[in-house]
């Protein structure tokens, strides 16, 4: 089914946002198609959900819902937060030492 939990979440977020009318499914298919057809994608389709996440990020930026710089900054913040969180504790964004 889903290779990893983040893939399931990305999938569900997309379905949810579409149901709430943020974009049409054709807009989504177009965004996904662009990512899937980028040079260097895996021949076996194993990076399919990477494409999915890239398409969702791109569409949110194109729609003015999210800012590309903000997404990247938050991505780094979550990675720092994960590394700063002791094993066994829930990872929270507030654990980022730079926040």
């Amino acid at each position: 089914m889903f290779p990893e939990p983040w893939a399931a979440e990305a999938f569900a977020m997309t379905v949810h946002l579409h149901e709430n009318g943020l974009f049409s499914w054709s807009e989504w298919a177009e965004a996904l198609s662009i990512e899937v057809h980028r040079p260097g994608r895996a021949e076996d389709g194993s990076d399919y959900f990477d494409c999915w996440v890239a398409a969702l990020s791109g569409l949110l930026v194109a729609k003015g819902i999210a800012d590309a710089g903000v997404i990247l900054a938050l991505q780094s913040a979550w990675q720092r937060a994960a590394e700063a969180t002791p094993h066994g504790m829930p990872i929270e964004l507030g654990n980022d030492p730079l926040r």
Binding site: F11, E83, H87
Partner: protein, 213 residues
């Protein structure tokens, strides 16, 4: 949300120090998108969980197999499926979330149908769940159109030369469900038993019903 907290293997001596958590770029990117969308009030975590759970437990090829078995046993339903697959399938409780239309492709002794999405990976999720990895791979997406007979042979399906193969390219608006031919010798079987003969691949057209896939 999922508990995707990283669980690293403990070392052989069971010492409990230096067990860092790490987020891959993709994990962190998804978290970042969730953060942005939550802050704007655009996602409801409960709804996200419900969607994930539905796709992991309720929505899958058994839905499609139910449609096929009903078409095999109920001629009125089969007619409806031919005329208006979207409505016929919805009558069984399987509705697409993307507002897409469904079309049922009936395999016959003369014609075999095979479904692909050359654009990306459009797929009839409501009846088949999530697509298999090979369906999303560039190799299948390009070769299914150019050499369907060769692709089918690789799936272990060898069709008589005189049998025509039609390849259908899915779109965001139109998805296809292959209705395989009912296997011979199944006249006495009930709908539920028949559904057990219908594999996911048979409903994509990369297998035939009642045969090991």
């Amino acid at each position: 949300m999922h508990d995707d907290h990283d669980h690293h293997h403990h070392d052989h001596h069971g010492h409990d120090h230096h067990h860092d958590n790490r987020y891959s770029d993709m994990q962190a990117r998804v978290r970042a998108l969730e953060t942005v969308l939550s802050e704007k009030g655009l996602i409801d975590p409960g709804a996200i969980d419900a969607i994930v759970e539905a796709y992991e437990t309720k929505i899958g090829p058994r839905n499609g197999a139910h449609v096929v078995a009903k078409a095999w046993t109920d001629p009125d339903f089969a007619d409806w499926l031919k005329r208006d697959a979207t409505a016929a399938i919805a009558s069984l409780g399987y509705t697409g979330r993307q507002g897409e239309h469904m079309r049922a492709l009936f395999n016959t002794p003369e014609t075999h149908n095979l479904v692909v999405c050359t654009l990306c990976s459009c797929y009839p999720w409501s009846v088949l769940g999530l697509p298999p990895v090979w369906y999303k791979a560039p190799a299948y997406r390009s070769r299914a159109v150019i050499d369907p007979r060769g692709v089918l042979a690789e799936f272990g399906v060898t069709l008589p030369e005189e049998k025509k193969i039609r390849v259908w390219d899915s779109t965001a608006e139109l998805r296809y469900l292959v209705i395989p031919e009912r296997p011979e010798g199944t006249e006495g079987l009930a709908e539920e038993e028949l559904a057990g003969l219908v594999s996911r691949d048979a409903m994509i057209g990369s297998a035939i019903a009642g045969a090991a896939s």
